[in-house]
């Protein structure tokens, strides 16, 4: 279980271009951070850097557990979920097959996947092939793994963009529950999150305390 994430003096470079430098950010248990900024400012890159998929140019990202700092690799493999632009669902498989795989891969069980299906209202989609689903339906299937295998840190990239109003509200409730149980959320968004959150604009002032 993660307690705090500390991002210190982080600087990211893509190709020849420096996205930002000197980013300091601390997220504690029960806190949500909404990353805003123009297109291409580096919101997605920051999420990928926290997930360890992208090597920072400078600075570091540390994960603290109850008993002090955790090894980054272990923390990432066990305590974070990332749902990005691409939902990672195979178009030829059924929604249930893919959800079950994603759940088991991230450490959940079939029962927890069933539970997530009920809470996200996915029953009617389960037998359909993923390619028959709309963008919003696919996103809901991808978001289901957040509930199916509980992990402390959610890294979300435009999580609500394809969702309709009703499901945005529903997902807002789920995010609030996650925070209430000590979870953390770092989300790249254009519209404000429907939960109390700290706003961080990427590419502007970079000194934010936790």
């Amino acid at each position: 279980m993660l307690r705090t994430i500390r991002i210190k003096d982080l600087s990211l470079v893509r190709g020849e271009r420096r996205l930002f430098s000197g980013l300091n950010l601390e997220i504690g248990a029960g806190e949500a951070v909404a990353l805003t900024g123009r297109n291409g400012a580096g919101k997605t890159s920051l999420l990928r850097a926290v997930a360890g998929l992208l090597r920072p140019d400078a600075g570091n990202i540390a994960f603290d557990g109850a008993a002090g700092e955790l090894e980054a690799e272990t923390a990432r493999a066990e305590a974070l979920h990332m749902v990005g632009h691409h939902d990672g669902l195979k178009s030829t498989r059924s929604a249930w097959e893919e959800l079950l795989f994603q759940t088991r891969w991230t450490g959940g069980s079939e029962a927890s996947a069933r539970d997530a299906v009920t809470r996200l209202d996915l029953e009617r989609l389960l037998d359909l092939e993923v390619r028959r689903l709309s963008a919003g339906q696919r996103r809901r299937v991808a978001l289901a793994r957040l509930l199916a295998s509980p992990r402390s840190l959610w890294l979300l990239d435009e999580p609500m963009a394809p969702l309709d109003a009703g499901h945005r509200e529903g997902f807002g409730t789920l995010m609030a529950e996650h925070l209430a149980s000590g979870g953390m959320i770092l989300a790249a968004v254009h519209d404000p999150l429907p939960i109390p959150s700290l706003n961080v604009e990427i590419g502007r002032s970079m000194e934010i305390g936790g």
Binding site: R48, A51, G52, L53, L54, R55, R76, A77, E78, L80, M82, G84, H85, H86, D87, G88, L89, K90, S91, T92, R93, E97, F101, Q102, R104, W105, T106, G107
Partner: protein
């Protein structure tokens, strides 16, 4: 270990599932084996002498074609992010993918190889050795092909690039396997070729995943 099995099951389902999988590889294999005699002439004695070599070479090509997109699909739809963040290291992910490819395409092809060789007029004496070579060589083909597929991640001309990277690496197993088959057909000692083939496959299985994981990390970065 359980995460590895979960992934292996999913990779097998993807390989066997819609889109042909082993059937397509087998059909391609049958086409190549039928085409080569048409090009090489139909004199039975000449075909019989070429048979083991043709059956063996076509295996390498069929394996190559079926794994060109081994990592590309996961890279495009974002599943590779999920796999990279999972409980198993990327090296284990690479092993699962290549192993699933071998089980779904390599092993069925290894069983089809003797049929092709017999149809071309090879003697029945080489059949056990051909199956052994095809099973061991197929493992090398899968793991080296996976290496090519991972190195070509994100490039536009992926398919050709994979072939250009992988075919030179297929040279040693093709030589060892064909050498062993040739030696057996000519009544010479053949164990040396088979042992070298096994050694090469073992090295590919041991070292390939390390390189594949590095290539995937590089592509995701």
């Amino acid at each position: 270990m359980s995460a590895f099995l979960v992934l292996l099951r999913r990779e097998l389902a993807l390989a066997w599932g819609k889109g042909g999988g082993p059937l397509l590889a087998l059909a391609f294999y049958a086409c190549v084996v039928t085409l080569l005699p048409l090009a090489a002439g139909r004199a039975p004695e000449r075909l019989a002498s070429l048979a083991p070599g043709i059956a063996w070479l076509a295996l390498a090509l069929a394996a190559l074609l079926s794994l060109e997109r081994l990592f590309e699909r996961d890279f495009e739809d974002g599943a590779l992010d999920l796999l990279a963040l999972g409980p198993a290291p990327l090296e284990a992910v690479a092993v699962a993918k290549c192993l699933a490819h071998w089980l779904a395409a390599g092993a069925p092809l290894a069983l089809a190889a003797p049929i092709a060789a017999l149809a071309l007029g090879a003697s029945t004496a080489i059949i056990p050795l051909l199956i052994a070579c095809a099973l061991a060589g197929g493992l090398a083909f899968s793991f080296l092909g996976g290496l090519g597929a991972s190195l070509a991640l994100g490039s536009k001309r992926g398919g050709l690039l994979v072939a250009v990277i992988v075919l030179p690496l297929y040279v040693p197993p093709v030589i060892f396997g064909a050498g062993a088959l040739d030696a057996l057909a000519g009544g010479l000692p053949w164990t040396g070729g088979l042992l070298l083939l096994l050694a090469y496959s073992a090295a590919a299985v041991a070292l390939g995943p390390i390189a594949m994981a590095a290539a995937c990390r590089n592509a995701l970065d």
